[in-house]
Every structure is written in C-alpha cells, then in structure tokens.
Subunit: 428 residues, 2 copies
C-alpha cells in the first residue's frame, strides 16, 4: 500500500470506513511526514506524537465497536486561538504561556465527536493579529506562510493533516491558504460556534478550515456541522454565471495576480462560464471603510484584561493598534457595525445576480521574509460581508510560489461556493 499520508481526506475516510486503513496507521504516517518536514516548516506550536497516537488508538477501538463518525481517524491541526483540554492553548502570546484550558473549544469538541484526531496545536500570530510566529512557507522557507492562521495553512500545504482550523478577522484564512498552495474555506459567519476561541472582533471573527482540496473542505465542514456541503467533485450540469470583482482594493493587486485572474477568467469563459465584471455599490465600500475601527475597537475590548495586566508582554505593534482602537469614539465603532449591516443588505442584491463571484485571494505571491504575514487587502471586505469564501490554488507566480483565486457566494450559499470554486479550479 502507498504511503497513507499522501491520501486526501476524502480517500482516507473511504479507506477507514472500508476497514482497509486504521486511524493508527494513518496517524503514524502523518507523524513520519511531519518529523521529516516540520523542522523547516514549523507549523506546530505544540505536537505530542504519543498523545495523537493514543487518540488514534481510541478512534480505532471506537470504530471496531461500531461507533465511527464522519471524520473517523482524520487528522486536524488546531490553530492555537482555539482551546484544547488536553494540550496547551497559548494564543500566540507569552501572556498565556503554559495555559491549560479545562475544556475544548466547541469546534474541537465537534471534530472529536465526529471521530477526528486532534494532531496538535498550530502556530498563530499573536492573538491572531499581525505579530508572526516561527512558521515558514512550505514552498519556500524564506517566505511567509501568511497569517494569522500560519501553522494551519503551512501544515495543510505540507500535507501534515487533513484539515487545519483557521480563523479570519481580516484575511487570516484565505490569504495564508493561498500563500501555501492550500484550499481555504471561510464559511458563512456563525457556522462554527466560537465558544472556546480567543475571540478578538465579535463582528468579524469566523472559524473555517484549510485543506488540501475543495472536496476535503466540504467533507470536514459536513462532518463538523451535519450540514450539506455537497460533493464538489461532482460535475455541475452547467457552467456558472460569475461576477468578476477587483473590488475597492484593485490597485493593490500585483502583476502576477492581475495575470492570474485574467487567465482564470479566460479559462472559465472557455469552459462555458459567463463572466461579468461589476463594481461594488457605495454601501459596500462604506462598510469596508469601517473595518479598521470595528476590528481594532472590538479587539481592544477583547484584550482589556491583557492590556491592564500585562501590557509589556504585548508586541509594540499590537499595543499601538489596541490603543488606537480603544481611543476611537464609541459612536464611530457603533456606526461601523451599522455600516457592516448596511453593506450586507446591499451586497445581497448584488450577489443575487450571480452563481458566485471571482476575486483575488491576496495581492500576490507570499512575500519574502518571516517578519510579516502579508496584506489582507482582498479579504477584509468579504469577512465583514459574512459570506462564504473559498481560495483555490491556480498555478504559481514569478518566484514559483502558489497563487490562489477566491470564489465568494451569498450568505448561506456555502455549498454553491464550494462547488463553483472546484469548477473554477478545474477550468483554470
């Protein structure tokens, strides 16, 4: 039998169901792959192989007893802003060094309930903001993996696990997934409950998954929620009507991104898609203008205890942004949330004219250096709109690093977003 660490989640799940692969064998194979590549990638902030193997053995025992969940034996990496009862949860900050929560975050508990193995905790930037951890891009260790879900994206890109939990406040799932050549899926806001997450911006923070394929993202989401995420590998019976959106931040797209999106548009059109460029209505653009005040204002409240008891252990950049957010007038922050709601209402009319929207995932390839995680310019808008977003890998840029195209649908249209994302990926 071939190395099981190379199997997609969908294929591994099939073999486990069929009894031809055990969770233990799969976990052992993944741990071997990690042992070989983790020194260069540094996706994990906590990895205890013995603990993972005990969980795999327990999963195998459950399966033998007839209790197998939809994610039986599959491996998850958990971004370290999500609590785990059996592993430290340190939120990317020295303030929380050694913290051991009593309970699992809701999404972690749901993953375990579905039979998944929590392989380890993945690196997050400081409180899922900007100050980076040690993770490198698996495609070139001199380049950032992106952030804030750095370890989940790098680990998914390196094939360390079948799904990495990520969270997105600005661009923290889609951008790193694109940088690492993975599939990133930010579901509709509120799909995965944030209980046990170190929430920063209540209006924005969204939990999602980073995987090796669109089908694997659908499998993970269906297993976690019981919802219908479809079968992205099934060919739709028609080609889509796609809206092409460069968006209010169009001028931040680098040449490789312009070339990539034009290439994807041409390929989609050849495959039968109708592609219609459009501009965002003013109410949507106004929502984006409020993103910074709401995000930093809410995050400053979220970190009130840290700020008052351990400010010296916050990075200087975060401290500065939290002071800025704290000092924005309350009326501006309240108006910002209303602007978000108005943007969502206006966008619902726009997106109703399309099957899905095509837009960049990031300005370009992953930038060089590990001191910064890149720019969420092409992400914040979709986060505040609360819409499902998928990034799919569509080739490489001038340095040979992955590029992603982003597919967006209306709130609640998660299944369609995944289906058309896979359609676009195959067409491109």
């Amino acid at each position: 039998m071939s190395d099981p660490s190379t199997l997609s989640a969908t294929e591994a799940a099939r073999r486990i169901r069929a009894g031809s692969l055990s969770a233990t064998a799969l976990t052992e194979a993944l741990l071997a792959r990690i042992a070989a590549r983790e020194p260069a990638v540094r996706a994990f902030v906590h990895l205890d192989p013995a603990l993972a193997l005990r969980a795999a053995a327990a999963a195998d025992a459950s399966a033998k007893a007839g209790r197998a969940g939809p994610l039986q034996g599959l491996a998850f990496g958990v971004k370290d802003v999500l609590d785990t009862a059996d592993q430290p949860s340190q939120y990317g900050s020295p303030i929380w060094a050694g913290h051991r929560p009593r309970s699992d975050a809701a999404c972690v508990a749901l993953a375990r309930r579905a039979g998944a193995i929590i392989l380890g905790k993945t690196v997050t930037t400081e409180f899922a903001t900007r100050h980076p951890g040690a993770t490198a891009n698996p495609h070139n260790p001199k380049h950032t993996p992106g952030g804030s879900s750095s370890g989940s994206a790098a680990g998914a890109g390196a094939g360390f696990f079948h799904a990495g939990f990520g969270t997105q406040t600005a661009g923290s799932i889609i951008r790193p997934a694109a940088f690492c050549g993975a599939v990133g899926f930010k579901p509709s806001y509120g799909t995965l409950h944030r209980a046990g997450m170190k929430v920063m911006s209540e209006s924005l923070d969204t939990i999602g998954v980073i995987t090796g394929s669109v089908a694997d993202a659908a499998l993970a989401m269906a297993g976690l929620t019981g919802g219908d995420y479809g079968d992205p590998d099934a060919k739709p019976g028609r080609a889509p009507r796609l809206g092409l959106c460069w968006g209010p931040t169009a001028d931040q797209a680098k040449p490789e991104t312009r070339a990539m999106l034009e290439r994807v548009v041409a390929a989609a059109a050849r495959a039968g898609a109708t592609v219609v460029p459009f501009e965002m209505p003013a109410a949507v653009v106004a929502g984006l203008a409020a993103h910074g005040a709401v995000m930093n204002g809410e995050s400053a409240d979220a970190l009130a205890w840290e700020f008052d008891h351990a400010a010296a252990q916050l990075s200087p950049g975060l401290r500065e942004r939290m002071e800025w957010g704290r000092d924005q007038p309350r009326a501006v922050k309240d108006a910002g949330r209303l602007a978000f709601a108005a943007a969502r209402t206006a966008f619902a009319d726009v997106v109703a004219g399309f099957d899905a929207i095509l837009t960049p995932s990031a300005p370009g390839e992953a930038p060089e250096g590990l001191g910064a995680t890149g720019d969420p310019a092409f992400n914040s808008l979709w986060t505040l709109l609360h819409v499902p977003c998928v990034t799919v890998p569509v080739g490489t840029g001038p340095l040979g690093l992955p590029l992603g195209a982003q597919i967006v649908a209306g709130i609640g249209q998660d299944k369609a977003a995944l289906a058309w994302a896979e359609w676009v990926r195959q067409a491109a």
Copy 2:
C-alpha cells in the same frame, strides 16, 4: 451622614468624586446591607467581603493618587457566566465547580478599569438557561426573581450593588429586572464584548446591566464603554411618539400586565405622548418563529464539550433541549439566522416611525416558587432584533409584586431608549 448603601450610583459617584465618600465606606455599607438580607435573597454564588474591601482600599488609593475612573468606587455584581480572575467562575453548573479562570471577562476588566469594585459573583441559572439557582425575589422570598440573571436582578432590587451584569439570550435581563422591581438595560447587540463570557447562542447573547434607576444604567454603560448614554434625568423638551406593541405573544399577557400597560399608555398620553398601536410585519414574526431552533442549536454547539464529557451533570431539562437543538437540521438553523437578519431589516422600517416602542416586560408578576424563572414570551423577539431594551418599574400587581414596562428603540438608539424609558416611568 445617611447610610451610603441607600445612595443611587449617580449620587454615590458624585460624592466619591467630591471626596465626601470613600470606596471603602461605601463598600462597607453595602456589605452590611448584604449581610442583613443575603440569607433571604441569596443573590451571590460567591462573595468574599475581604476581597471586596481590598479592592475598595486600592480604589481609594488610586483616587488619592489622582487616578479615578468614571465608575470609581461603585459596586458591581457579576453574573457567574462572566469570568473573574480573582473569583470562581462556575457558570451555574457542577461541571465547572471550582473553576478559576486566568483572566477577567472583557466587561469585568472594563468595569475595573473604570474604577468599579467587583463585589462578588451573582447566581445564574445553569449556563444561563432555565434550571434555577437558589436566589429568591427580594420582594417576596416565595417568588422567583426570574432568570437567568437571577442574582444580578435580585441584588439590584435589594440594593446590594450599583449595577449587576446580566446576559440575555431570550429574556434573561429584562424579565428578572422587572420581577425584582429594578431597571434592566439590554443594550444594542455587540455593545459589551463577550470575551470571557460562557456564550451559549452567538446570534443572541447580549450583555447588559441591572440597576436601581435608569440614570444609573446610563452611568454604568457610559463608564464601561465611553459612549454617550445621555442624562436620563434631564427632561426632554418634548413628549415622545410611542409605538404600542403587544406583539406576537399578546395572548400571554396576564390581567395585571394588560391593566398596567393600559394605565401606562393613558398616563403617557396625558403627559403629551402620541401612542400608536401597531402590528409587527410578517418578516419580524417569522424571525421570532426561528428563535428556538437558533438558540438551542447554537447552545448545543456551545456545550459540545460538556455534553460529550459530563452529560450526567447537565440538568435533564437542559440535556433534552440540547439534544433537540443538536438534532434540528443544520439548514433550519442556518435559515433561522437569515430570518433574524430579515426581521431586523423589516423592524428598522417600523421603528423609524416612532421615538420608542412600549411593550410588556413580562407576562405578569413574578410567579410563585423557586423551581422556575418565568416565561420570556415578551423578550425573545427584542433579543433577536438586537435592539436596546429597558424595563422600568411601574407599580405592582395583585400580589404586591413589581411590574415592569419595556421601552425599545432601534439598533444604536440606546441613548433614546434610556431617555424615553425614564420619561415613561415618570409619566406612569
């Protein structure tokens, strides 16, 4: 000098600012009042007088050093679904017995930053749902104080502290405040960050305050957020245009509530108000129909860890509702959140025609018995609409127990809601 425990928050704050009252003297007076009445009321699940007095001494030292916040020396009770670093946080459940979080909830940290004394943790029902704690109604110990913010409402009604933090998913601030003869204020959704709260329903849970007067609620909110909550004691220069809403649950109003609201309407009209009865549009009623599936579905996710590791320690009623919520089809829960959003859009048009809306706070007086906390029939709608709600005491029912009238305004119109609530209270 008179007993400082009888002072309103507003007056106590004035005297502390003027230097004629110390936080220590105020805290001592409140602790004496608590010592006398707490055996009958049972508002606290944790109260450490020595800890409170140390905090008061520290507040006095800060004030002497010129560092006095807007809530300097005022006493807060904290519902025990909100984390406190220096006191146990047990969420009304034996599963969390003895739990000591590392940090304060955001709202607790903001209260301390503003100079407030965290007097103790107040009784919550089990995870802020239905299974009650030991608290009694301060107006008649054979009657429920309501819930889930039982201890914060009873403590505010008994004058144990200047403000009690409450949380509302269905009717958990407004109903107990009305039952206990207190003022309850549920601000616009998202105003007080839920970091460090044991969140159940992400779409609904809202943190607010229960106080002795509307002015004290405004003082507390302004001190916590830096926002403008106005001066509810200042006479508006005109009478309001009020919408009268019996709402989709009108048939659940008891005779005392019908009589009360008719009396309030007549008094408001005599004082110059225009009172216009209206019916809710269908989209709003449809939102209410989705409340149960979203609330219990999200709560079941929130308690996934407890359910899988300690189900035997959940009350049978909660376990049953969590199973029901878990088993609702995911599509129904997702559609429910969309129905909430549509209800909010529809309601914005309705409320734009009024200065505020007048509606019952609860079906009637606090029911007899401590085994149940009453019915949120007149609250769930306003919670899902995310609008600011105020209950003000407006007399008593046939058993001599307090009745509340509820004043509601549009999202973000918190200052107006407080101002017109006080106007209605004075008119009634």
